[in-house]
Symmetry: C2
Subunit: 429 residues, 2 copies
């Protein structure tokens, strides 16, 4: 008997029929003798519809009230899911976040989970019931309804699995979604993309932040911190999906497990900034206030000046320009230039740490395809190249191909060594 | 400074614009210096839509889950109402039932309020905030979400007003709805119907149970028990509506304040029942199990047999027939006959207690219109006549007319004495 936390996303719960299908999976796991917790998102477009109602009333809703509004979506799903489970003659009880004692900090709309009352859930599980928990929501210590922000239901599921894991037995977390698992690249962009059987938390974090879109990085981080195995799989298919797990020694046999494309970036360059301590802090204070995620940051100094550039998603450019201008105003010096039409392709793998030649393989593949590299950044397990937007999709495909990711392999793709890459450029530094 | 509890029904909150209009009224009361609690129902058809989702999943949802599902409707309204109040620069906080400490018994779908944590609300009011409370819902002592059943939001509002009334100052309860107030008869049936300035709890209870449809009788009973003045008024009109208050001596100057029609009734007659102790208990045990409200009950005995008849709403006939048959099966004797095509017209007024001739006025009016009376029942403040369904509307109009309800008067209509009715039939017995 294992303890399984199953999480179903909004698309998987878009109508009563789909809720019934998900209920069937939960019941099947229960009938195999497992203890089952089901975490649900709001049905289909419910959250969007609620936000749209709020926006008809005010442009600037208070976050406390937004949380009370949005939390209704998941709560309704729990009740419907419990009813659908009852149809199979299996006992189930639904709980809103505050009933489960999912206690968060008091930061509305992006609360962080502080603690979970696992005893309450264990009591119901031990009584033979399936527990249906509202994802995405919690309650602060002073009784306010909070929501966890983007990726919140995934985080609820992973957190529940962590809270319910004993010293002897780990709970498994199954994330049911509308894709088959984690792929070597987005299958809509790369025909040869292949589903991975497993991937490490670290690799998944790099791919999630690059827009692989399967799971929110926050939930993956939670899984890593509490070592919860996460099974990402399709809600309408019996196939196994991808296990996100701790890195194992054999994962290092493979240099690159996946590639990702960020298809439309802009780059903001602030030039002729005074080269003195604190200018970066001044600039990014204003950028942070605009609440936009900045991608790579580059800095070059010359004489008493520096140039600082950073890339952002194209749709964030309009918001970041005034923020950057406020930074220049405060510095009293400097010019702004904005480029558009960029894209970013990245290769990720924990095996890079021990394999040489990975960067060279990537650069060679792009060069042979005649794609110019505008910028390169690296981390311990990732290599990123900025290219022109028009070459983005092609760059993704040639890199995917260069690492042999579309071919079959134990863990996914050939290692750099297996590919017998001639160069041995180090990716560090 | 007064304390006002304003309750807005689903029709008044059907879309963001109407929510904004209701918010404006709450803000106006606040700006007049009053402390304001707003109780909201679910928006428009929300509750029906949620029920319909549940019915797509199961024919027999558990009531615990139904409560969790339905409670989301009012919770969403609270958040939107608070946002709409914020638009006016007035502070407001929304609360679900469990947050307000509206503690109920554990009977799902028709819970009764046991206690309310008034201190929590007073704290917010004293801080200058408008409190927006979810109607219709509470929480049981063991933390289960409950709903109050039909008329639940009205009950929440009256209960909050009762809980917040001090020994010196009473809170007023304003029920905002889509009618102008309580009328001498349903204005859709009687053109001459006139809005009442005030009506006693007792009269309102009789009219509510007869389908006046303005307020649920449960909330009126709550108001009577805790002596909370209830102001029923239109949410889109500045006019005052009708005050439901304790009976005052001058109310006795008027014999009849209003008339009501139940337009479509059936009558079930159980004949040749053994005339022995306990047969009534046996019969109504089965009827109660069918969860159908029975109207008037008549019993006639002859020899060793009795005939027992009762009227029910036409749409309940299908459910009550098998229940009645089960009663006959248990008794082992008797026959069932079912009549349809009946209607019931009633006249209500606390002044009946001290006025003679009220029944005679009613019977004479029906006789002069050529309407046959199939049955008569009376209570201390009500006279009811069963007539044929085809004569129902006409019966209502002639009775309304006979008591001069359409004319102007201090409290509503002429007294029987003023009408100089020749007969003096007593209504008792």
């Amino acid at each position: 008997m294992a303890l399984i936390v199953q999480k179903y996303g909004g698309t998987s719960l878009a109508d009563p029929q789909r809720i019934a299908n998900c209920a069937k999976r939960a019941v099947a796991a229960r009938e195999q003798g497992h203890q089952v917790v089901v975490v649900v998102s709001a049905m289909g477009k419910t959250t969007d519809n609620l936000l749209s109602l709020a926006s008809e009333i005010t442009d600037r809703p208070r976050q406390r009230e937004l949380d009370i509004l949005l939390a209704t979506g998941e709560q309704a799903s729990t009740a419907l899911m419990a009813m659908a489970i009852h149809n199979h003659g299996i006992d189930a009880v639904s709980f809103a976040g505050h009933q489960l004692g999912i206690v968060t900090d008091p930061v509305h709309c992006k609360a962080k989970i502080r603690s979970i009352d696992a005893d309450r859930i264990r009591f119901e599980l031990d009584a033979g019931r399936i527990v249906v928990a509202a994802g995405f929501q919690g309650v602060s210590i002073d009784g306010q309804i909070t929501t966890l922000g983007r990726g919140g239901s995934d985080t609820t599921a992973v957190a529940l699995a962590a809270a319910l894991s004993g010293s002897l037995a780990k709970a498994t977390c199954e994330i049911y979604t509308d894709v088959d698992g984690v792929f070597t690249a987005d299958p809509r962009r790369v025909n040869q993309a292949r589903k991975l059987e497993r991937i490490s938390y670290e690799e998944m974090l790099e791919l999630a932040s690059l827009g692989a879109g399967v799971m929110h990085s926050r939930a993956v981080m939670f899984g890593r911190n509490y070592n919860v195995p996460i099974h990402v799989r399709h809600s309408a298919s019996p196939e196994t999906g991808t296990m996100i797990i701790e890195e194992t020694p054999d994962m290092e046999n493979v240099s690159v497990v996946g590639c990702a494309l960020t298809p439309d970036l802009g780059r903001v360059s602030l030039r002729k900034i005074p080269n003195q301590p604190g200018v970066e802090a001044t600039i990014f204070k204003h950028i942070a206030a605009a609440d936009v995620l900045v991608d790579d940051i580059m800095q070059i100094e010359y004489g008493d000046c520096v140039d600082i550039s950073f890339t952002v998603e194209f749709q964030d450019l309009a918001e970041i320009k005034p923020a950057a201008q406020r930074a220049l105003d405060e510095l009293g010096r400097g010019e702004m230039a904005v480029e558009v039409g960029l894209a970013k392709v990245a290769a990720v793998g924990v095996g890079m740490r021990t394999h040489t030649g990975v960067a060279a393989t990537m650069f060679k593949a792009l060069a042979e395809a005649g794609i110019n590299i505008a910028n390169i950044t690296t981390s311990e397990i990732k290599i990123t190249c900025i290219v022109s937007k028009e070459h983005g999709e092609q760059a993704l495909r040639v890199v995917h191909d260069a690492f042999g990711l579309g071919e079959s392999g134990e863990h996914g793709g050939k290692s750099a060594e297996m590919a017998k890459t001639p160069g041995h450029a180090s990716i560090s530094g």
